[in-house]
């Protein structure tokens, strides 16, 4: 296990179930590929000061079936550009989950997370013990462990470095 525990603030809690992430940048911006531009338009409909409030290491929290719809990649390209390191949700829509995990972007299923944290709480993701710890409140929850291969993808930093490693050592 080479993953370093994540520690940061809850940058936003998406309370809407079945949240369609394309709304983060708006469908009109969904064909933009420039991360700088995407970072500027991200979350404008939710918090117009979102970008300036972000700190590297912050995390996002989502409700059940996060990523529902037909998700595209630009919203989370924007979020990674802003320093977001992971998304923790009650549960995920599979297409979204697959697509972002392939980027090496941790998508952590943690039932109860929306009750555990509030926006700006300081939290930690403990990979070894499968815990999300709310450092601000002194509470914690167990998250659903990743499969061995999913962990290897995260450790490698995404699908491409993972495949390279695997092809070298089949």
């Amino acid at each position: 296990m080479s993953l370093v525990n994540l520690r940061g603030r809850v940058a936003y809690v998406f309370e809407e179930e079945n949240f369609d992430i394309d709304q983060i940048v708006g469908v009109k911006n969904i064909r933009i590929s420039d991360a700088e531009v995407l970072a500027k338009v991200a979350m404008n409909a939710y918090d117009e000061h979102f970008a300036e409030r972000m700190r590297p290491g912050d995390l996002l929290v989502g409700a059940a079936n996060f990523g529902y719809g037909h998700p595209h990649y630009p919203p989370m390209i924007a979020m990674r550009k802003l320093g977001i390191t992971a998304v923790i949700a009650e549960s995920f829509s599979p297409g979204y989950w697959w697509g972002e995990m392939a980027e090496g972007f941790a998508q952590i299923e943690c039932p109860g997370i929306t009750r555990l944290v509030s926006r700006w709480d300081e939290i930690e993701v403990d990979w070894k013990e499968h815990r999300v710890i709310n450092l601000s409140r002194g509470t914690e929850l167990i998250f659903k462990p990743f499969s061995a291969s999913d962990l290897l993808v995260l450790e490698a930093g995404g699908l491409i470095p993972y495949l390279k490693l695997k092809r070298q050592c089949p």
Partner: protein, 418 residues
């Protein structure tokens, strides 16, 4: 203990005697399909060379590329993009299907819907090949794995079985069935599972209707959908199959995460309100809502039974003043058949705008809506801005409901016109 169709297909493609839900396996897809789109195919083609030094795919007959988005091109850059796709396919010996129609439909027409086969694509709507007993998965970024090596890694999914019985009322379509599944079982009912359709009620659903339901399975959280092939679907598939495989069937004692029974006769017309595919409501609660645009097409509709019912409803009638109705047959084959039946004439005489097949109406690249406009649509999605301005709205429903709304300029009950 028995196995599901999905487990059997994945066992064969993993080269194993059996696999069980939850197993992590390396499987060799029978077919690797994609449509060309910026950020997807161009990225795979570039990365397979730059990151993995793979200049050509192995076994090019396993691969297929569809050009169905940005058709027709409206900028030189778009045409250049298609040219680069064609060039890549030529270099790799991979077949390209251009302007034949929407790829997920064309894939069935040209023989990728092989019962018992495994197909992968980046787009989850490929699940509609499940109509023919093909396990077709939208694997997103993991497509790169399929371009650079024989196998892709996969966790064997559980299945959720839906047993249909009874038959649909007149004016209720397969789209209503899918919306009913989302409404009653929930938008995450099949999360990370394959939705397996079964039961005596299947006999009353057409092949085209099953393509609609399986193609939209992702809105139940499913990663795909599959149906055991019957004689009709086997005949369709085998008459054009690119590969000969023994069809597979789930064992009677196969294990499912859940089994649900649905009486098709109880389903009423439904409408999906914006901004989410989860917003399923009774259509009758929205009767009279003013609408300005109708779209009948996409990989989820635009097939002959959709065009037939729309023509039946619109025959001898005209569109409401100011209403724009876009009718986009799903493939050239379907368009030609509709022309021979006189369906296109009926629709044109009613005032419809008929387009050759293209994916572009579904995402607002053509027939773009302005702020304040509201559409009834058989497209796949209704997220804000999907068909134009972020201040326009999309209500998803069946082809019959789109045709009825086109007459009134309001959400209308199609059963009144049949």
């Amino acid at each position: 203990m028995g196995y599901t169709m999905t487990e059997k297909i994945l066992a064969r493609t993993a080269g194993l005697a059996t696999v069980n839900a939850g197993d992590e396996v390396q499987v060799k897809p029978d077919f690797v399909l994609a449509y060309d789109f910026p950020g997807y195919t161009d990225r795979y083609f570039k990365e397979m060379e730059s990151e993995f030094q793979v200049i050509q795919v192995k076994e090019p007959a396993r691969f297929g590329v569809f050009i169905d988005h940005m058709i027709p091109a409206i900028t030189p850059d778009e045409e250049q993009f298609h040219k680069e796709t064609r060039d890549w396919a030529t270099r790799n010996g991979v077949e390209v299907f251009e302007r034949r129609g929407i790829g997920h439909q064309v894939a069935a027409e040209v023989g990728y819907a092989v019962p018992g086969a495994l197909a992968v694509h980046f787009d989850p709507h490929i699940s509609q090949l499940g109509t023919f007993g093909t396990l077709a998965l939208g694997i997103h970024r993991n497509m790169l794995e399929a371009y650079v090596q024989d196998t892709v890694s996969l966790r064997v999914p559980e299945s959720v079985r839906i047993d249909f019985n009874g038959q649909l009322q007149a004016g209720v379509m397969a789209r209503d069935v899918l919306n009913y599944l989302v409404k009653t079982l929930g938008p995450s009912a099949c999360q990370f599972c394959v939705m397996e359709l079964a039961g005596s009620g299947l006999a009353s659903l057409s092949v085209e209707g099953l393509q609609t339901i399986t193609g939209l399975a992702m809105f139940t959280g499913a990663i795909s959908a599959i149906v055991a092939p019957d004689a009709v679907r086997l005949d369709y598939a085998r008459s054009r199959s690119r590969k000969v495989l023994e069809p597979v069937y789930s064992d009677a004692d196969a294990r499912y995460r859940a089994v649900h029974t649905i009486d098709l006769g109880t389903i009423e017309p439904l409408i999906v309100i914006p901004p989410s595919s989860a917003g399923t409501r009774d259509l009758t609660d929205y009767l009279g809502l003013e609408v300005h645009v109708g779209y009948l097409g996409s990989c989820a509709s635009g097939r002959l039974e959709d065009l037939r019912i729309a023509a039946q409803i619109l025959k001898g009638r005209t569109l409401a003043p100011g209403f724009s109705l876009y009718v986009v047959p799903t493939s050239q084959q379907i368009m030609a058949a509709a022309a021979k039946e006189g369906l296109l004439t009926t629709l044109v005489e009613a005032g419809a705008f008929i387009s050759s097949p293209s994916c572009d109406y579904c995402y607002g690249r053509i027939g773009t809506m302005n702020a304040g406009q509201r559409a009834v649509s058989t497209g796949t999605l209704n997220v804000r801005g999907r068909m134009g301005s972020s201040d326009s709205e999309i209500y998803l429903c069946s082809a019959a409901a789109v045709a009825a709304a086109a007459i009134e300029g309001k959400v209308a009950d199609p059963r009144h016109y049949l």
